[in-house]
Amino acid sequence: MQPNYEVDEVAEIQALREEARGYAADLRARALAVDAEPGRMRPHLDSPGLLGIQRLQPVLSSTLKTAVVLIELAKGDAGMVLACPGPALAGVLVRVLGNEEQNTRLATAVAGGRTWAFLAITEPQTGSDVTRLRTELRPDDEHGHRLHGVKRYIGNGSRGTIGVVLARTGPSPLSLRAALVEAPAAELRTQALDMIGLRGARISEMTFDGLPVGPDDLLGAHLSPLRRGMWGVRQAFNTVRVHVAAMAVGTAMAVHDYVRAARRQWTRTERADLEAAMADIEAVRRLTHRAAMEVDANRERGYQASMAKLAASELAVRISRNLPRMLGPGALLEHPLLEKWWRDSCAFEFMEGTGHIQRLHVAQDYLKRDNARAS
């Protein structure tokens, strides 16, 4: 059955969109300060924008509602969205794999709007290819397991007080497990990385030197062995790819709005260029909504999520690089927000699998369905 993507007609979603839209201006006003000093969040923690994001709890809603909210928030600033205290991406995986107690533990740890959570998947040598992760959960008589390995490019890694770490207990595909761990700890070293953009996300490196992991820390114990590892991770990835696509769409919209408002008069050709850019953005927005609905219908289906992530990350880079040129030479130097959004837009390419990975997913899924049709 084709999902109905005329989501504008759904009253609840419309209300969420309006509420999120109301926070965008405050997020935008703080964006450059956080970009310059991502470690200095205290002045922003009680701001209307960050309090609004925490109220909306975007990652804990349905994928479609989250996508709608994230697009509006990212029209304010995606870097600020990712700088916001809260469960962040860890919330997605704990929802899929965690039991009630673990969900409560995460929610309690980040309640109050002063603490962050991390989701540690990516590694220096293997990227986000979870089939080749090297971080290990080694057996330990005292605690059950100890965590050893290095994670890299982890949002909130250096400031998170709780998070989920993906590791393996052995070489088999079923040995992939997710552990809910807390920080700081003597067996955990973290370092914020100096990134080109999306600096509010406080992307970090985390080194685990035998961090104790108890039985209650392992996610998925209440699930069958087949559903404790890769099954849940794949669902989380499908969900988060839609989130990334939504933020990319929102960033493209922010650039478009900014450029359009920066000049009073446009030539006919320029107006046509702006309209063409908006049509591109709108198409990817609809694709992202469609992907969100597909994930909500079945979190194991990632075809549309990969396609949306691929299209949206390309869109954001293209729009943020080309549209500012309409303001004349030096637009990126004269409009720091445009420069920031251009740097930020490049980050979407690297989050939860590059475009190459998404291309493989889209092609392989299509071929699989084509084979099924042929047989």
Binding site: G127, D129, P329
Partner: protein, 223 residues
Amino acid sequence: MGAPLVHEIIVDELVAVTRAGGLAAGLRRIVDCGLPVPCAGSGRTLVPAGAAGRVVAWHVAGAELTAHQAAVRVLPHPLASTEGLELIEVTATQPGAGRPASGSLMVNALLVAVRLGLIAAMLDLAVCHLRGRRVEGLPLALKQLPQSTIADALASAELCRYAVLTAASATALDALHTRLGTTGWSLTILFGGSGYLRSHPARCLYVAELVRDAWVVPATVDS
């Protein structure tokens, strides 16, 4: 088609200088040619750190200011400084100073050569990176998708090198710079998340895009 702006010997030399020494080295060579450095309407532009004093003239808001007619102020720009450049703001020391600017086609053509040098250097680095990463037992450099990117980048760079030898208009040069930006981005992606670190050499491709932003008049504005 107008007369060629640059000879291939100059292009190849600039490519080699930049490939070996980086963005700042290439731009410093352009500055030392004695050509006016283009600025945005507000007077902002990027130049190699410490090179502003060697600039003979500036193009600001349609006027060509000699070094004596211009005041230069250095502004903070953390990303540009990691690549050995500085953001400066150029203003006329007296209202109405300078003569009408005659365009920056030559500088923009030379900037194409500089960006070709960066692409060559980053291509070398990307191939090295891809040889060191293995998937399913094979180096990434042997996988079809990365090879496709490498082939497209090589073809694009080669075409740009030929095109800059004949390009003679602002529109043509702007299109070349757009192409170089796309090619550079395709290479940046090959480094994965590491290419998004400020400490990674691929940052030169980001900073080069900022130099293009300041130096090259967009075709939409020019036409």
